[in-house]
Amino acid sequence: MAQPGWRDAPSPPDFSLLKRLARDQLIYLLEQLPGKKDLFIEGDLMSPLDRIANVTTLKQHEVDKLYKVEHKPIVSTSDQLCFLIRPRVATVKWVSDVVNSDKAAGRFRRYKIIFCPQKFYVCDAVLEEEGVYGDVTTDSWHFYLLPLDEDIISMELPEFFRENFLEGDQRWVETAGNALHLLHSLYGPFSKVFGMGRCAKMAYESWRELQEESEQKSRRADIGTVFLVDRDVDYVTPLCSQVVYEGLVDDIFRIKCGSVEFGPEVTSSDKSVKVMLNSEDKVFSEIRNEHFSNVFSFLSQKARNLQTAYDKRRGMDIQQMKTFVSEELKGLKQEHRLLSLHIGASESIMKKKTKQDFQELLKTEHSLLEGFEVREAIAYIEEHISRQVSMVESLRLLCLLSLTENGLLPKDYRALKSQYLQSYGVEHLLTFANLRQLGVLVEQQPGETLTVMESKVGKLVNDKTAGKLTDAFSSLAKKSNFRALSKKLALVPKSDEEYDLRVPKDMAYIFSGAYVPLSCRLVEQVLERNGWTGLEEVTRMINRHEFAVGAGGGGPEGGEKTDAQRVILVMFLGGCTYSEIAALRFLGRERGLKFIVVTTAITNSGRLLEALLDH
């Protein structure tokens, strides 16, 4: 779909400014508690903090000892304690306990809590209830955005997803608005904002109010267009198995804050290695968006090239050798190291995936996406459960089944749920309740007439036939949003055509050519139409929370696109996957656009479902 005449995609704005700002503000806040102090850091803030300031920086500003918040009594001899925490009730209670036990022991210290990225009202309420309000000073460190790469910015707030979409607590919406405001004031002014989802709408409003209050600076925009996407618009995509390299690495090794820890099975030594995965890793940046089936051949080609480069040494005279060592060798060694790491990772991925019979699993997923041979897919899931194969995997398949079929037939729901509880523990009743609340694993509302007919027919024929009939009837009975969306937006390419994964023709390549991610397709369609016109039927099915607005009060207008307008910020509220990022990168290359992904957190099927467990 590459259109001739498109310029190359513009380069992304410089987001390192965000890191500088965050670091400077942290220093400023630390200086608010002059003198030596011990710093307690919330566990999940450690990695983000690590990306913007090192221990030396903290020491320079009189941080004496560093501790991880562990919700246990503390051992610190310092007279000043500083707590760098998320605005969570449990942590604030723990700080209160620390203060109260000092009080009981007659010990005087100064306490400061720095909330990141902001303080919630409930935090003050807890301090007050615990009787320590006034003993503790509080501040907020507005570290909203952490650039993970040149085109990925994370808010590092995985709890956003559960709290907003499951619990229905909207307090993080404002945080999203604040983050947007920060981006707008540094890289804006934006000229268009598109959105889908209820949370997107509220975040937009929250930002707009801030923007109205603040003065307008005139600067040349780096980013022109903004997209806000609620995770609940599309749960299918993040629940699919990832097959592009970066997604697979995340699924299997869990990338944390842009860095991954490869264990001994990858490094083929007895040590684990932490590697930053971003565009600076020249090997990684070339394979991250590739379908896994291409990765091996690419890596071996790369290895051959490397060998050739090394071989150049042969027959060099001293002078040439000197130049080689000073100019090339270091780079080659670095590349060598990275190459062997990624080869190790790929082998380890292969091993794990072969063991779990990945091929069968993918086949089942693809049938679900296609709505073809659903009975067989259900049997597969059933077996998965009865063999007690991975608890999260089984759940993932169940959710995919429900999402693609618009709910399970009541009898299937009952049977599969019972089986699941038997295999993985009855306490998963809570998990099922959560999944139902979220709408990702539900029972179909029975279409009465058909059900009656079905059961009558079912009595006359054997089970297998009845199953097939049930399929036929149910596909008549329900209007599945996913099916209808899939048809309307051509999400599932025709399966009779060969799909060449080395030369992808559309975003479906990220799922082996079986499925175009809904979230990204919506972005593509809206950009193409410069709004939602013509997508009325689609918006009805994604719950009508769509909007498209332009600066100056009017709707977005067409016309020649400036560079800034071709830089498009897509903000995922509730998380996005590396596969979605890969799809957007593909779209960007095709259309001469640069996508910047902002997300509340990087997610994948494992993280998404684990957030819904109640343990």
Partner: protein, 421 residues
């Protein structure tokens, strides 16, 4: 509210001056000029308690707006959107408005607000400042403290979004018990069992959950949970001190407490196979109590017995006797899976072959046999299919002179077989 205090309150409500806070008295703004500039540049997105000079709405105790400013920003009509900025989108979803004489509605209208509704007090000396529009949790905390529970729940019951915020707030602060008696949150109560570490206390707690108004299905599951733990406690107490052969040979890796039903069944098939149905620890008893399907039972028992290499048990598990007294082998999971499980557990070739020959589908049978190197099966199957070509292909993969090789040699030269090719 006390009318006499109105004037004083009015000061707090409408004052444009900063509310006094305890964290702003020793700011030294001369420090770190550069950082400060940086911080200032992001000012405005900062929710800052002590900087109250923005144009914010003032809300009185009753929730009515104070002053001339229109009630709240989202009630503004789209007409007053400034031209240079972004327009308001129709605020959606509309938050429920109730016309109960109660003025809570106006409080609930403010969604995740940007400003602060302060009611914080230092322990010594409660003072109140209200500056600006409100957010849910702020209002809820305030109302929870000041309203009787009955009125609060009456109001919340009509506002789903607010109710969900409230539930989450209570879950976070560990006060969910307030809810259990008021709203039917059986699951929330059931959830508490997770935090009970002592198994007997946990069991007793689960017993109290049995009477909660669950749906019929869930009620069965909770009942199962209770019975399961009850059994596990008995089994655990016995097995901990048992030192029979099997426990010596295969020491337990972990306690059986709090394991899922299927894991418990596996455990019982492993350590208590063959016990009579009367005992709690017997597989038969567990199977019956928890209504375990034939297929599931077969799979689990097969796994456990194969792990112990008790091939005769595997045989018995598969044997069925018809009314004429003939025994026949049957597998509810298909013989392919049986073979795979047996192979995984290192079954001898003979055992594998016995089960492999029972695989109906010849294609599947051959591929299994090739995978696990059961030459006899491959050869016999091709012979059965009269497929000479395949036999020759297979022979070419074998070591010349090996017994299998010779068997095939004899076969393909045999004149008694009518080959199809």
């Amino acid at each position: 509210m006390n009318k006499g205090k109105a004037e004083e309150d009015d000061y707090w409500h409408s004052s444009k001056y900063s509310a006094f806070t305890f964290d702003d008295d020793d700011y030294d703004f001369t420090k770190l000029k550069e950082s400060q500039r940086a911080v200032n540049s992001i000012r405005g997105l900062v929710e800052d308690d002590c900087e109250d000079d923005e144009d914010v709405e003032k809300v009185s105790w009753s929730g009515e707006p104070v002053g001339s400013k229109s009630p709240s920003s989202f009630l503004r009509t789209s007409g007053d959107t400034q031209n240079h900025g972004f327009p308001k989108i129709q605020h959606n979803p509309p938050l429920p408005r109730q016309s109960s004489g109660y003025s809570l509605s106006s409080l609930f209208k403010g969604k995740g607000g940007l400003n602060t509704f302060r009611t914080h007090c230092k322990l010594e000396g409660r003072q109140v400042t209200i500056t600006g529009c409100v957010s849910y949790s702020q209002v809820l905390i305030f109302l929870k403290r000041t309203l009787s529970k009955a009125i609060l729940f009456r109001e919340l019951a009509e506002r789903e979004v607010a109710l969900r915020h409230f539930i989450h707030l209570l879950k976070e602060t560990g006060e969910q018990r307030i809810l259990c008696c008021k709203i039917h949150l059986q699951l929330l109560q059931y959830k508490e069992h997770i935090s009970i570490k002592d198994e007997n206390q946990r069991k007793d707690f689960l017993k109290t959950c049995l009477s909660l108004p669950f749906s019929p299905d869930d009620s069965t599951h909770v009942q199962d949970h209770y019975m399961l733990l009850e059994r596990q406690i008995i089994i655990e107490a016995n097995d901990k001190r048992t030192d029979t052969e099997i426990f010596k040979k295969h020491p337990r890796k972990a306690s059986i407490l709090n394991m899922p039903i299927i894991t418990t069944l596996y455990y019982s098939c492993f350590y208590h196979y063959g016990e009579s149905e009367g005992t709690f620890s017997s597989p038969a008893n567990i199977r019956k109590t928890f209504r375990i399907s034939e297929k599931q039972y077969f799979l689990t028992a097969l796994g456990a017995r194969a792990k112990l290499k008790q091939w005769s048990d595997v045989d018995r598990l598969c044997n069925t006797t018809n009314w004429l007294g003939y025994t026949k082998k049957k597998s509810p999971i298909g013989f392919q899976r049986v073979v795979e499980i047996l192979h995984k557990n290192g079954a001898p070739l003979q055992v594998l072959q016995d089960y492999m020959s029972l695989v109906d589908n010849t294609e599947v049978r051959v591929s299994l046999a090739q995978k696990f190197k059961c030459h006899d099966i491959v050869i016999n199957t091709y012979k059965e299919l009269k497929d000479r070509q395949q036999l020759i292909v297979y022979q070419s993969k074998l070591e010349r002179g090996s017994p299998e090789y010779q068997v095939i040699d004899e076969l393909i030269h045999s004149l008694n077989i009518r080959w199809k090719n």
